[in-house]
Amino acid sequence: MIQYIARRILLMIPTLFVISLISFAIIQLPPGDFLTSYVAQLRTQGESIDAAQIEALEEQYGLNQPIYVQYWKWISGILLRGDWGRSFEWGRPVGELIWDRIGLTMMISLLTILLSWAIAIPAGVYAATHQYSFADYLMSFISFFGLGTPSFLVALIALWVGLAVFGVNISGLYSERFINEPWSTAKVLDMLSRIWLPIVVLAIDNTASVIRTLRANLLDELSKPYVETARAKGVRETALIWKYPVRVALNPFFSTVGWTLAALVSGETLVSVVLSYQTSGPLLLRALTSQDMYLAGSFILLLSTLTVIGTLLSDILLAWVDPRIRLEG
């Protein structure tokens, strides 16, 4: 087991390296460098900045050096000193800006996975055990519909319904009076009263696909001889279904939980832009449109890294549950 974990962690290192390269490329892609914009911004604010200061900044980020040196300065700053660079738009270190937001994004994504499984697993099992029943057709219809409607559109429609029917503006993660407040019990409660919306919106997509795949997998399993044998031996039907074929049919989900997480983080970015939530989506979008590249690059780096780590954790969990995986590969 320890050997398996060690091998997985070793395999993760090149992945993380490539992620950092891509993030750095995104930082570098827009024409010009951030220092030029930073200096221009300071000048328009009437602050004087002399040549020595510019030179010091250039030195700090290695801007006058070849690209691999710049990359090294950037990544070593993150790894060794926890220095994510500066957001010139906010005039603050990137590290101060992103952690709260990334945390919220991850929390929403994880809660979404849990919610969609809580709905989809019973629903999928029911659909498979009652094939061609009315409920089965209903669920296929709903899940097709869930797959067909992009989450950001659902979020948009939810906003409209909230405004037109209930007369409330449900955008924003907190009520207005809490936006600039520090964290407190009242703020958390306020957030919890609103956070269900993006979770439900995001869960629709995932629930739909889990129901469909689980139904197909389970139908394959149900016709296998071991199910027949157990039934012939007189195992109660419910116990039989949940104990054997469901567990086998669920395996693919646990092994692709990383992809699910990636898809959810992805979807959350768009949904939170629509709902103007204080999560990573809107800030990333703003950073990209205003070419605040260190902020944008850090977001992409951190979101991808956390997703890869999430995948690793789920793999380890899976290997712990299922001995076949840690032995074979």
């Binding site: 950001f152 409209w160 768009l270 990333l284 977001f299 995948t311």
Partner: protein, 387 residues
Amino acid sequence: MATEGGIERSRAAQAEENITDSRAEQIYVAPQWLLMWWKFRKHRMAMVSGVVLIVFYFAAIFCEFVAPYDPESFSTSYTLAPPSRIHFFDTEGNLRGPFVYGMKRERDPVTLRPIFVEDTSVMHPIRLFSPGQPYRLWGVFESNIRLFGIDAPITEHAFFLLGADRLGRDLFSRIVYGARLSLSIGLVGVFLSLIFGVVLGGISGYYGGVADNIIQRVIEFIRSIPAIPLWMGLSAALPPNWPVVWVYFGITVILSLIGWTGLARVVRGRFLALREEDFVLAARLVGSSEMRIILRHMVPSFLSYIIATLTLAVPGMILAETGLSFIGLGLRAPAISWGVLLQEAQNLRSVALAPWVLMPGLAVVLSILSFNFLGDGLRDAADPYSR
């Protein structure tokens, strides 16, 4: 009598047997595509979806002809006008065929909001192939015949099938024009993914070994990072002064850089399965080149799977383009795509006043659902021998 009845019965049985025989024979000699077609026809939703998509793509290809107005023509007196009501009977109850009344803009006496009321003194019949604003189909053929329309210019009286937007432009015409970009980006993107996917998946499945290992790791890597933040980063890097066509291709390339993975997995799986087949071994023994084995023997036998997978990959592309354009990182106005049109719906006040600005979303949902159903039907039909 009894024997006669017996003979009668055995004759009937014989005839029935002949029918099933000929049916079986028909199945036996039918070419593969016919078997697929029979199987596909049974999937009713897929058939309906196929028709829907044909209509959509027809509208996209001939959008200048199908749209009643030029997408940029506007009328300031019809900003956020609601969809026109189509009447068949006039105020006296006479059948007059489909027509619309003129629209008058008034202010609600209480809220002072602009409201639109029908002016029953003016009547405009809706005509098929009516002359309208001149256009050039595909930028070449000049004409002014539009599929349908009324006999008045937009500045005087307008016929808005789906309402008007914030600038008083006809939303239906804009959705039809938007279909051209939104629907084609899915196909072009999928075509690019197909090239990546078939080449890389093919190498992976045919040669196996180290190449397979590397390509599989790359696929796992790409699928484990969140796509939309990455897409956002890449498309934000497209220079803002690029012309629409370049941005369009830039976006499709960006989308297919990530989108090829699913396809590559399918191709690899088929290659792995077919590599062991007898006919491949036979081809190799008679000395066919590898290229010939792949293109002549292997590809035709999994082509149908590829087509099904491609169909299922299109919606993802359409969604991605819509999402990116919606948040302003994809195509930008003056380009017209469904995502660009939905940008208007970002403004909550517009949505509350004029819910029809969400209509492009309906077009997106319809086309995605249709592609999903069609792909489902094709996937079932791809293996006509399966039960």
